[in-house]
């Protein structure tokens, strides 16, 4: 059949108008209504007030295998986990679409009252937990986690993972902020004693530069939750407002900022540069400098120096120690855990609890994490008291002394308080406290007030 009728502009525009009108009508459909029985969004200024646990969907027979999903880096740093997953019956694990701490997929599915997965392994409480609770995406583990496991969690970690007494994150990996140094560089600089105070660090960092043992005396990650917060905790941990926000105006925070500037002056000029991945959060200049063996001291959560030292000619030159203290300070630091959350509309909740118990007590995972593998050496630690007791009673031959140093900080370490702006408050504050670090503003109190005001302004938008 010959196609002898040509399209002309009028006909095309007519058809386009019809189709466009149809699209306009479709676009004007309101977003999905709230799920019935879903909790009200929590007050952003009261982080410890959780949403009431949502009415769980009616119990239904599971229609699929247990479906956990993992943040990619967990597979990268813990290669035994995917191997273990393959051996477990009726488990279908996948990598989550969560690059850059994104949770939008999980929230989108919750709005549709569905969940592709049952468990998400990769949640850090102060980063995403409040958001996931407020959207009704996750439910507490309390009805499913065995009581002996619950009681076995280190108390401060259990507190970190709980909201209103309910455990929303099943903690898995423990990261603590501490000290590390390149012993080849410190030895060349004539430093014989591990630094225990910030004054020791400043003296040692200057000695490293003056002796030309390395270009930089120290490096640290200037993002607030990785430096300002732990340095503040080393002076005092009572630095959170009643709403759970970090109090930038607190004397301890101001002291920490002054310290950050002194340390920065003994570090690389590009210390404040954005990282190369995850929206500037990771692959930061401090990691590059330490990996390139150009810095003596390094202050960050322990898995970073271990990962960077793996690039050295001799990784055994890495030494670690407790986070330094201020004279007269509390001597605390920051820890956080990466854990698993249970999706409201997921299935297999009882099986999920069994699965998480299996994972979190798996000896090979901890051996690989602490002793290292060809793939990675993250030195992330377990969260159970019983495991440490077992190691103390009968030390495995692969367990380095360093583990005692790291875990020894847990009694004094404190987590950043959970809040809707848990991580974001530090990103909002950064342009202001950076002015002080760059010498563009000389009053530390002025910039810290600006930090506080910036977070308050953003909170007002939410209100």
């Amino acid at each position: 059949m010959a196609l002898n009728k040509k399209l002309n502009r009028r006909n095309f525009l007519k058809a386009g108008a019809v189709a466009g009108s149809a699209a306009a009508l479709a676009a004007c459909a309101p977003p999905p209504a709230a799920a019935p029985g879903a909790p009200a969004a929590p007050d952003a200024s009261a982080p410890t007030v959780a949403a009431a646990a949502p009415a769980a969907p009616a119990a239904s027979t599971s229609t699929r295998p247990l479906s956990p999903t993992f943040y990619q880096w967990i597979y990268d740093l813990h290669p035994h986990i995917p191997e273990l997953n393959k051996t477990l019956p009726n488990v279908k694990a996948e990598i989550a679409p969560t690059e850059g701490f994104g949770i939008e997929r999980f929230v989108a599915e919750t709005k549709n009252k569905e969940s592709t997965w049952d468990v998400y392994v990769g949640m850090t409480p102060f980063v995403e937990m409040t958001q996931l609770i407020s959207t009704g995406a996750i439910v507490p583990w309390d009805d499913y986690i065995p009581k002996d496991v619950l009681d076995d969690i280190i108390p401060s970690i259990r507190e970190e993972c709980s909201v209103n007494g309910k455990l929303y994150s099943w903690p898995f990996f423990l990261d603590i902020t501490g000290s590390a140094w390149h012993s080849g560089i410190t030895k060349a600089a004539g430093i014989t004693k591990a630094p225990t105070t910030w004054d020791d660090v400043l003296t040692g960092a200057k000695a490293i530069i003056d002796s030309k043992a390395a270009p930089y005396g120290n490096v640290y990650d200037p993002q607030g939750w990785r430096s300002l917060a732990p340095m503040t905790h080393s002076m005092s941990t009572q630095v959170y407002t009643s709403e759970g926000r970090f109090d930038f105006n607190h004397d301890a925070a101001i002291e920490a900022l002054i310290l950050m500037k002194k340390l920065k002056d003994l570090g690389p000029a590009n210390l404040l540069e954005a990282g190369a991945s995850d929206g500037g959060v990771n692959s930061t200049p401090d990691e590059v400098a330490f990996a390139a063996e150009k810095a003596g001291f390094y202050f960050k959560y322990f898995n970073s120096p271990y990962r960077m030292a793996a690039n050295w000619k001799d990784p055994n030159l890495l030494q670690i120690g407790a986070y330094p203290k201020f004279a007269g300070g509390e001597g605390s630091t920051v820890f956080w855990t990466t854990g698993a959350c249970l999706f409201t509309y997921g299935q297999n909740k009882e099986a999920a609890a069994e699965y998480m118990k299996t994972l979190t007590y798996d000896k090979k995972i901890w051996q690989d994490s602490i002793a290292g593998t060809a793939a990675a050496h993250p030195v992330q630690l377990p969260v159970y008291t019983s495991i440490y007791k077992e190691w103390a009673a009968s030390k495995p031959e692969w367990l380095p002394e360093a583990v005692n140093t790291i875990s020894g900080q847990m009694p004094i370490a404190k987590a950043i308080t959970n809040h809707l702006f848990g991580l974001k408050q530090f990103q909002l504050a950064r342009p202001f406290y950076e002015k002080y670090l760059l010498g563009q503003e000389t009053s530390e109190k002025t910039v810290m007030q600006q930090c506080m005001d910036a977070v308050t302004a953003e909170l007002k938008k939410t209100a």
Binding site: N4, A19, A41, A274, P285, K424
Partner: protein, 313 residues
């Protein structure tokens, strides 16, 4: 007889209609894609911009009229963000036009066919490399500690010391030119092909006539080549203005979510509001997007007017 004739007429009309509508069938896949991925999202964000929709808040969105737009017009970050994007565009556009133009003129002069083809292939290599690989590569090139650029400047040429080496990503004065340079490199081959096509369409006898009349190369370039390439330049300026103002991936790679940096433009602010901050204020973010889009449309219309065809016939 009349009945038969009417029936025959009706049948031929039906047959013609079927033939006519048969043409539309071939448009359906493109139409679905166009409507689903272009029209629907645009209209959806328009609707969102008039609501207080927050992604992390449960409950339906409420209509708030122009409130989001009013708030956006008084939000300093919106104005600063648009200014920053415009600054980048003003740095980026001239290089994106004139560098490919000069290269095209040079390649067009190559008379050896094989060599000309070789040059064209080399120029197109950046265009076929996947975007993420380009970002990773240039981020490494610009790396302060281990990047090859600083290695050459500091260790080989000794122009800088380690202390004052350029911070291509960290220095607010350098980061915008750094992004512009890698964007020029990335688009060089693609835009050069545009100009080469334009140059091929210029009648050679114009150049011969001009040279016979005593015109030198500069006069030939400005008097013949540039005016004849004007339509292509217009297309590229308008297209690249839009893409330059809408850049986001590169800014996130080079500056993250630091609001103090020149890479925190209106697009990054929109993304930050919609997917990172607080309860994810997507209604407000949509309003910012529409304000930016309207501003860009006005400038685009102005550019089209500037580059309008001035021929009399």
């Amino acid at each position: 007889m009349a009945a038969i004739s009417t029936r025959a007429t009706r049948q031929s009309r039906l047959s013609a209609s079927l033939q006519h509508w048969g043409n539309w069938v071939f448009l359906i896949p493109s139409a679905i894609f166009f409507l689903g991925y272009m029209i629907y999202p645009i209209l959806r964000t328009l609707w969102l911009s008039f609501t207080d929709y927050r992604y992390l808040r449960q409950g339906p969105a409420n209509f708030v009229g122009l409130q989001n737009f009013q708030y956006a017009l008084s939000d300093p970050l919106v104005l600063i963000g648009l200014q920053r994007a415009l600054q980048f565009t003003l740095v980026f556009l001239p290089g994106m036009i004139f560098l490919p133009l000069i290269l095209a003129v040079m390649v067009d002069r190559v008379t050896v066919r094989g060599l000309a083809t070789f040059y064209r292939v080399i120029l197109l290599i950046p265009a076929v490399i996947p975007g993420p690989m380009i970002f990773v590569m240039w981020r490494l090139l610009y790396n302060y500690e281990i990047g090859p650029i600083n290695y050459i400047l500091v260790d080989v040429l000794g122009i800088f010391t380690k202390a004052n080496a350029p911070q291509w990503v960290g220095n607010p004065s350098l980061v915008i030119p750094a992004v512009a340079v890698f964007q020029w490199w990335w688009g060089l081959g693609y835009h050069t092909m545009f100009f080469l096509a334009g140059l091929a369409a210029i009648p050679k006898d114009l150049y011969e006539a001009a040279r016979i009349d005593g015109a030198n190369e500069w006069q030939v370039f400005w008097g013949i080549t540039i005016p004849r390439l004007r339509p292509i330049m217009a297309i590229l300026v308008v297209l690249r203005f839009g893409t330059a103002m809408a850049v986001i991936d590169e800014y996130l790679l080079f500056g993250g979510f630091n609001r103090g940096l020149p890479t925190y433009t209106w697009t990054v602010y929109m993304y930050d509001l919609a997917f990172q901050t607080g309860e994810w204020l997507q209604g407000y973010a949509a309003a910012i997007g529409w304000l930016g889009a309207i501003g860009m449309l006005i400038i685009t219309a102005t550019l089209l007017y500037i580059f309008r065809n001035r021929d009399n016939n």
